[in-house]
């Protein structure tokens, strides 16, 4: 690579002879229950600050998830589907994301399990959504390969 990355997005920089493919914007995440998932006791889930940056065929994304519980029952949050990503994904390509709760130190991840492309990242695992603190905020960030 002999080129210089100047101002990404301004189209002033090139790598070799290829123009930088750069875009940033917002997306609309949504959460739903997957296999054997129970969102008992969840009063509301509000997702905000959902932004993405795409450079070449890599899309990086992040968002904030704010959960309020009604305290009635424990929550089994394994296999929560996380959809609404800004770009389609190549069949059987993988992506991943981290999920972190600064309030209780809870840490989990999202993964793309088998790759139909419907939702590249669709499972919370190793996390208990809002189980210990009410309300609770999760921060999500990750990346995947776009189609």
């Amino acid at each position: 690579m002999s080129g210089i990355i100047g101002g990404a997005g301004s189209k002033s920089g090139v790598i070799g002879t290829t123009e930088i493919d750069y875009e940033e914007g917002t997306w609309t995440p949504s959460l739903s229950c997957g296999y054997n998932c129970h969102l008992w006791g969840i009063a509301s889930v509000v997702v905000s600050n959902a932004i993405y940056t795409k450079i070449g065929n890599i899309c990086r994304f992040s968002c904030k998830v704010y959960v309020t519980k009604d305290g009635s029952q424990p929550t089994n949050s394994s296999n929560i589907n996380f959809t609404g990503f800004p770009f389609a994904v190549t069949h059987n390509q993988h992506g991943g994301a981290q999920l972190h709760c600064p309030e209780n130190g809870d840490f989990g991840y999202l993964q793309h399990r088998s790759g139909t492309g419907a939702s590249p990242l669709r499972d919370f695992t190793n996390s208990n959504l809002g189980n210990t603190i009410n309300p609770v905020t999760y921060y999500v960030s990750g990346a995947y390969i776009v189609a």
Binding site: E23, E24, G25, T26, W27, T28, G34, Y35, N36, Y52, N79, G84, F85, P86, F87, A88, T90, H91, R113, S114, G115, T116, G117, A118, A147
Partner: protein, 82 residues
């Protein structure tokens, strides 16, 4: 929000759209062949009508069903080990 771009992506005919927000930024969404687009603008419905043939929908439904089975088998195997 104003529709800016419509792209048909991949063999499963995902409809990838870009919109311009009121603030002038971009907002992105992707529609898959199992989705209801009846509340979307006519341009999007025209593209889905043209691209989402019965065969495309059928193949997609099969893929989603297969994935759900795969997930169920994966979870059952994992629960069996715990």
């Amino acid at each position: 929000m104003k529709l800016d771009k419509i792209e048909v992506v991949g063999e499963h005919k995902h409809i990838q759209i870009r919109e311009i927000t009121d603030e002038g930024g971009y907002h992105r969404r992707v529609f898959t062949p199992d989705m209801d687009v009846s509340s979307e603008v006519q341009e999007i419905q025209d593209v889905t009508d043209a691209e989402w043939t019965d065969e495309v929908k059928s193949v997609w439904d099969r893929l989603v069903t297969d994935e759900m089975l795969t997930v169920a088998e994966f979870e059952a195997a994992r629960e069996g080990k715990e």
